[in-house]
Symmetry: C2
Subunit: 533 residues, 2 copies
Amino acid sequence: MVGGGALYEKLTTMMTSDHASVVSLNIFVALLCTCIVIGHLLEENRWINESITALLIGLCTGVLILFTTGGRSSHIMVFSEDLFFIYLLPPIIFNAGFQVKKKQFFRNFMTIMLFGAIGTLISFCIISLGAIHFFQKLDIGSLKIGDYLAIGAIFSATDSVCTLQVLNQDETPLLYSLVFGEGVVNDATSVVLFKAIQNFDLSHIDLTTALHLLGNFLYLFIASTVLGIFVGLLSAFIIKKLYFGKLIRHSTDREVALMILMAYLSYMLAELFSLSAILTVFFCGILMSHYTWHNVTESSRVTTKHTFATMSFIAEIFIFLYVGMDALDIEKWRFVSQSPRKSIGVSSLLLALILVGRAAFVFPLSFISNLSKKSQSEKIEFKQQVTIWWAGLMRGAVSIALAYNQFSKLGHTKLGENAIMITSTITVVLFSTVVFGLMTKPLVRLLLPSSKHIIISIPSPPSSPKSFSVPLLGNGEDDVGGNGPIQRPSRLRMLLRIPSHGVHHHWRKFDDSFMRPVFGGRGFVPYVPGSPL
Amino acid sequence: MVGGGALYEKLTTMMTSDHASVVSLNIFVALLCTCIVIGHLLEENRWINESITALLIGLCTGVLILFTTGGRSSHIMVFSEDLFFIYLLPPIIFNAGFQVKKKQFFRNFMTIMLFGAIGTLISFCIISLGAIHFFQKLDIGSLKIGDYLAIGAIFSATDSVCTLQVLNQDETPLLYSLVFGEGVVNDATSVVLFKAIQNFDLSHIDLTTALHLLGNFLYLFIASTVLGIFVGLLSAFIIKKLYFGKLIRHSTDREVALMILMAYLSYMLAELFSLSAILTVFFCGILMSHYTWHNVTESSRVTTKHTFATMSFIAEIFIFLYVGMDALDIEKWRFVSQSPRKSIGVSSLLLALILVGRAAFVFPLSFISNLSKKSQSEKIEFKQQVTIWWAGLMRGAVSIALAYNQFSKLGHTKLGENAIMITSTITVVLFSTVVFGLMTKPLVRLLLPSSKHIIISIPSPPSSPKSFSVPLLGNGEDDVGGNGPIQRPSRLRMLLRIPSHGVHHHWRKFDDSFMRPVFGGRGFVPYVPGSPL
């Protein structure tokens, strides 16, 4: 996001191939392998997930290094925002878009937008106001109004990565698409909010500034989405026109390479135009799975599906390992050790604000969303509302990256209040991921007992990049037409239903008559010699 | 390889996400896409290959940037040894090992070792002696004996990447395995030689130093191979024992992630122990394709095969684009423009030495190798010898990386003689890749007319990571037993035949009775539910 002088040091620490950094890379790669193996062995255990494993292994390694170096250093790589935002986040968000169940996602589009945009704004306001109100009493130094608003944005960013590991798209499709879709929009919203706070003059907030902020937010949202759609369609068009399949060799390599590179290009283009790269790459992923993926050869389909999933998988483990290892940085904790009570106070306060801030939008917005649904099965039950509330409490690498950006401009935490904010962020992330994360699986099992079924997947070449399994819950994908008794919709329901049913029908017609003939897609693929159709 | 102070600048130029570098990344990714598309469009043209396309596009972009910045800068990324040796080379060499036809490779093992090790030494001696003899007359400044020996090592490193693109494993299997196998051993030999030259005190060379060098070389060769074999077997063992296939979800992601990470780990471990990482990752690739690949699920097999090929493909194009863009760096050419005749003299001399140095070992060693072969079809004909000689004349990124290492210790080419050596290396690389590269395809077609057949591949899930196509030349893979008339082998033939026939038979027995039951492999895979066997 924002390059700084400190990056010189960070990147060279991280990337130069002198002996020390070769050692670091070795340890890191070996730890990644260990996480995968241990994560596999713990798969049977329904309480632990891979994120927590990686976080704990990272912490243990940090402790080990702390002892072996005699307390001088605890990390082999310093957390770098760039590494996170430029290399680790794109594959995760792209894969999420690529593998998302599109019908579920678009059917719940309005609800997702309500939760992701309005909900994040509510949470942001509550956390900011709470911080302004309570931090004065804790006497933690001179934070400016910009800092308080930044704290609101930092702690409104839910950890969609961890959420993905806890919920299962096949077991709880409605919840998954709501929580995950919200997570993506939420990431985008908090990053956009954060940028807006850093750019605007916040010494005097009035209606004009607020409207300006809102306009900026809408511009970023729409422009990012359009860019993602454009790049996705471009990739489909190029691959359809060039017709790689006819080639003798390299056709799969070329197709896969083009898809990977164009997905990455969409992310970097959004960064170039200062848009929300997360939103762009997410929509690029959706478009690619709808059009591009159907234009390539059979082996490219299997390869891209699993390659994107694997890249995302490695990036996720990398992030949690990284956060775990970085958490024990001595320098940051030196300030805190002088005033442990203050630090614990700040962390607990933030956790409480996160709990309240999320409750303050999940339950009211669920109520509003339910008003628009006609059938009982589409409504969000109270138990599901609790699950949505709980599943979004975890804070992760986005929060840490934003906190570093705001509170360690030069890579060092010289000021006491900055050190406290960084360590509090780490504490909140560790606590929420481990404690809330550990409790999520049992909670889901308790509240939604139908999801304890185990689905046996069939690892054969799939016909679509979606997961192989058949959803077990009642919300099947093909009942869009609606066979239930016809009810007269209320006015609010009419308003909110437009995007889900009417638009979807028109979209299907438009897609079949104009889009697919140009951009390919299922059923509109040219004959590829040698490809079993 | 060797970290330097200049890397601080290079890496930050390259990786920080301030606006300039986001622009660079965008241009670079867009150019990579362009190269793939143009490479596809030129596929029909048998003269051009993807490397040359990328090189030319890189040069054109360099010229464009030169004009738009008003002559201030011509490259958007400075060539970084680390980027090359740590991120771009490993996937290429690993993929080469993973996809190599193992039988062909091991059957010609002795010949490959002759060409790769002894041949490179001969070439190294001739180029070094030639440089010492002729450079004095050109008066290009004060080069030390170490510099001359380094020049020998730099220009003995053939470009195996470009070679791979020119020859085709399925059309000319014998030539491919010889030239490519030689390329891998040659890379390793020249890097080892180069390291040895930098480490040893070369002020007085005597027999002890020479023997020490030889011992060092043998140690590096054997240790690197053993490490590669060890990591490859470890990956097979872990994946076989853990039995990922039984899992409900993530099994393919886990398997693919483990294979990628362990392959990379083998490379980084070799760097850690200062071994030849190229050899290690090559043998790790061979072992993984022989054991590990058979232990994973069907979809993991398809995915790994194409993912490794794609990563290698992107890395190759990246390198050539990079070299093309870096070639026009103003600063380097400033010194040269003061003495253009001197620079042209050095470049031509080096090209001549490369031609002579390679001829000096290809023809004699082919003769020796032919003495050991009983059947006419196994012998290397004269036409094939010419092709081998020609196909190894190209110099590439390894040469450039080594030249930067030797002649620009601080990232700047302050001294006139250093600037001339860098620009001469770039000139040799550009000239040999473009001119020799362009002439290789027609030459192969002219000398070996049988290879003009076009093979239609069947892009269905393969049964082995080797290429799908059936080799057309007579050297089928299954005539190891030898059905020709029994001849009494000469003593030299006996000596050289041991590794190819006797050892292969014993190896097969050993493999079937001890190795495969432990490490898996074809026919020794546990039953995986859901995997079509």
